[in-house]
């Protein structure tokens, strides 16, 4: 079987009829590589533009690509679905063992559609799909326990992924996540709520297969070359040592670490929650996704005494990353490491997206302090740094005991709309952003990026490079071009699929060579880049058909008032980039139709 043909098997599962079938989609995998390229096409086929994100007509699509398990850091799975948070095409990535399991179960993509009338979990074991009752798992307090139960209830230790939702997903909190292997997440845009709406509690995939490569000798050489760069190169060092948490201090120093609901870019206690201090005091273990030598997952051990009995302790293991340290740390004024870890644990137990939750908690605090909402609504007394209050609020977002919490479960945009304070409700097209108050390119990228994520184009890094080089902000056209080119190229990386932490490793020439090692016949880097642009465009066109208008996305007033690392941001400049984007997309789509 040829390499592409092996990758081209798509598993379709219908939760309504409890059936499944496999189709060979060589048509898609030969044109669009895999990953996001193929997932975008499957989305177009499966999800009508007017679909209710929480209705059975929405679908969950997972895809891997030609590099999955074939090369180092080919460790990620792409998920696409219609987002219940903002109602548009959405994309979220996760690692763990998910990509290995899908690929080695023999699939390039999995499409889950319909909805079950009662809670169930799925077990995909090679060519079998089992529909199993999840009545006992539904409503279980912690996502960790769900994982533990499923570890015992299924086979395939070491070669399986256990994706599950928490109560947040069951209760349709629009920013609920899907957790895999305890510490990795399809975090953003509410995939957990889509699982919940389909009564799908968990998805276990067992994959222990393998497949031949066409040019073994060449393949082994390329593998070794990439592996050596990955393990020896300084590009990967920061993920390796302190992990993404290494960003806390440098970002605070340049005034780009969102603090107390983005009211400042400097957190005076940054050091307390820095990667350095966490490593020194609580780091217990480092873990890797399948196929990745880096092991960026940093797991902390939190040892706590029980108050009621002497010498009686519990130890919990909690993973941390930069985004959590910003959203649940600096952005809430939390300087206690222990408090921060406890808050992260509560968020993980319930299965919420940490970024969205942190931004919402920050808005609640500010609105509370300004008197827009009171204890009657919040049922707690939120204040910067008061993690115990935040933990109460987190659990209430799930319980939804009153009208206020029903709105809180919809996201910060809805809170601002209903209770006022929209100027400090930090969101872009209803998506709470990642933690980089770096400058205008980052802000513009959150509007034109296909998933309004910092990972769309990594523009936070462009801002920082300008600062470092002492260069002025580029003109609108140049600024747009930088973001557009990078986001387009990332479509290629996300189709292959590699972890974006390895983007410095997988330079265009390396990608070309690695593809050849697998028998792909790409002639040039330009051909790949062209493909990336087309994928980006396809995603945009889907969003347009769903009613999306980038010119209508507002930048929260707060972000234009508080100076970034590159100084105050000019709203007109940002708008200029968005207009440039709209024009480019219009021209490109004419070409695509020809």
């Amino acid at each position: 079987m040829s390499y592409i043909r092996y990758l081209s098997k798509v598993l379709y599962i219908d939760l309504t009829r409890k059936t499944f079938w496999v189709e060979s989609r060589e048509d898609l995998f030969s044109e669009w590589l895999g990953g996001i390229g193929v997932a975008t096409q499957l989305y177009k086929e499966e999800i009508p533009s007017k679909a209710d994100p929480l209705g059975p007509e929405n679908a969950i699509i997972f895809a891997v690509g030609p590099f999955t398990m074939a090369y180092p850091l080919g460790s990620k799975t792409v998920a696409v679905f219609k987002s219940p948070l903002n109602g548009y095409f959405a994309e979220s990535h996760a690692g763990g063992r998910s990509a290995a399991a899908i690929r080695l179960a023999g699939y390039g993509a999995i499409v889950i559609k319909g909805a079950s009338e009662r809670p169930l979990y799925l077990v995909i074991d090679g060519n079998k799909v089992l529909f199993r009752d999840a009545g006992t798992l539904w409503g279980m307090r912690s996502t960790e326990t769900v994982g533990r139960v499923l570890r015992d209830a299924t086979s395939g230790a070491g070669v399986r992924t256990i994706m599950r939702i928490g109560k947040a997903g069951e209760r349709l909190v629009r920013y609920a996540t899907v957790i895999t292997e305890t510490y990795r997440h399809f975090g953003r845009l509410g995939l957990g709520a889509v699982f919940g709406s389909k009564k799908l509690k968990a998805l276990v995939i067992i994959g222990k297969g393998g497949f031949k490569v066409p040019n073994p000798k060449e393949y082994r050489e390329v593998f070794k070359e990439i592996y050596e760069t990955a393990t020896k190169s300084p590009v990967m060092r920061k993920y390796h040592d302190l992990g993404t948490a290494a960003n806390v201090i440098p970002l605070s120093k340049i005034g780009a670490l969102p603090t107390r609901n983005f009211s400042s870019g400097n957190f005076e206690h940054a050091e307390e929650i820095s990667g350095e201090k966490l490593a020194e005091h609580v780091l217990a273990r480092r873990v890797a996704c399948s196929g990745c030598p880096i092991a960026c997952i940093h797991v902390a051990a939190l040892r706590e005494p029980y108050g009621d009995e002497p010498y009686f302790y519990k130890t919990t293991f909690i993973s941390y990353d930069y985004e959590l340290l910003y959203s649940l740390g600096s952005n809430l004024g939390i300087s206690s490491r222990e408090g921060l870890l406890k808050l992260i644990y509560a968020v993980e137990e319930e299965g919420l997206d940490a970024i969205s939750t942190g931004v919402i908690l920050a808005w609640i605090t500010e609105a509370f302090k300004k008197g827009l909402i009171s204890e009657k609504e919040v049922l707690a007394k939120p204040d910067w740094g008061k993690y115990e209050e935040y933990i109460k609020i987190v659990h209430n977002i799930i319980k939804q005991p009153n009208e206020f919490y029903k709105v809180a479960a919809l996201g910060v945009h809805e809170l601002g709309k209903k209770y006022g304070g929209e100027e400090f409700a930090i969101e872009f097209n209803k998506v709470e952003p990642a933690g980089y108050h770096t400058g205008p390119l980052f802000i513009a990228s959150l509007i034109i990026g296909a998933r309004h994520s910092h990972l769309d184009s990594g523009a936070y890094s462009m801002d920082q490079k300008l600062l470092k080089a002492g260069k002025p902000v580029p003109g609108v056209k140049e600024g747009f071009k930088m973001i557009y080119e990078e986001e387009s190229w990332r479509q290629v990386l996300n189709s292959l699929v590699i972890c974006l932490f390895a983007r410095g490793l997988y330079k265009p020439e390396v990608v070309l060579k690695a593809l050849r090692g697998l028998g792909y016949r790409f002639r040039s880097v330009d051909e790949l880049k062209e493909l990336g642009k087309r994928i980006y465009l396809k995603k945009h066109l889907i969003k347009l058909s769903e009613g999306y208008d980038p010119l209508k996305v507002k930048v929260p007033k707060r972000l234009l008032e508080v100076k970034t690392a590159l100084g105050p941001v000019n709203g007109e400049y940002v708008r200029g980039i968005v207009k440039e984007y709209v024009t480019t997309v219009r021209e490109e789509s004419k070409k695509e139709l020809l």
Binding site: L104, R148, G158, K212, F223, A288, C292, V299
Partner: protein, 145 residues
């Protein structure tokens, strides 16, 4: 680098787990083992990594430990398994092997893996190919004594 365990002038060596606590669970050793057979994946791997009951508890690395008196050899009803020269593990004669699976059952640490396609066992040959792809120094070769 391929190190032959029965190479001339070399004392026979076996693959050892130097320190399992250094394992981060990346499974690159498993991928490396399959790559020897021009395959991507886990199907041909003679080494297996799984969590010790949740990744927060660390990992378990399972591979043949080259027993002095191998139970797998004794369990084989057709004499397909013989001991390598110098005691560095065993060799499976796949022409003799009937795929009964007794060897798998005999191995208390579960180091006899199974190739579902050929329905035959996979046992580590102690070649050391995986060592070069272990980024955290978990694996090594040691002289058989």
């Amino acid at each position: 680098m391929l190190v032959l365990s029965s190479g001339e002038g070399l004392r026979p060596r076996r693959l050892v787990i130097k320190d399992v606590n250094r394992c981060v669970g990346c499974q690159l050793c498993m991928l490396a083992c399959s790559r020897r057979f021009a395959e991507v994946g886990f199907a041909k791997s003679a080494i297996h990594v799984r969590s010790a009951g949740g990744v927060e508890r660390g990992f378990v690395v399972v591979v043949c430990r080259a027993c002095k008196d191998p139970p797998c050899l004794r369990a084989c009803p057709v004499g397909a398994i013989t001991q390598r020269k110098g005691g560095a593990g065993v060799v499976v004669n796949y022409s003799k092997c009937i795929g009964c699976g007794f060897c798998r059952e005999a191995c208390v640490i579960g180091a006899v893996m199974w190739d579902d396609l050929s329905n035959k066992p996979i046992i580590c040959t102690h070649c050391g190919f995986c060592i070069d792809f272990c980024p955290h120094g978990v694996l090594g070769l040691e002289e058989v004594c």
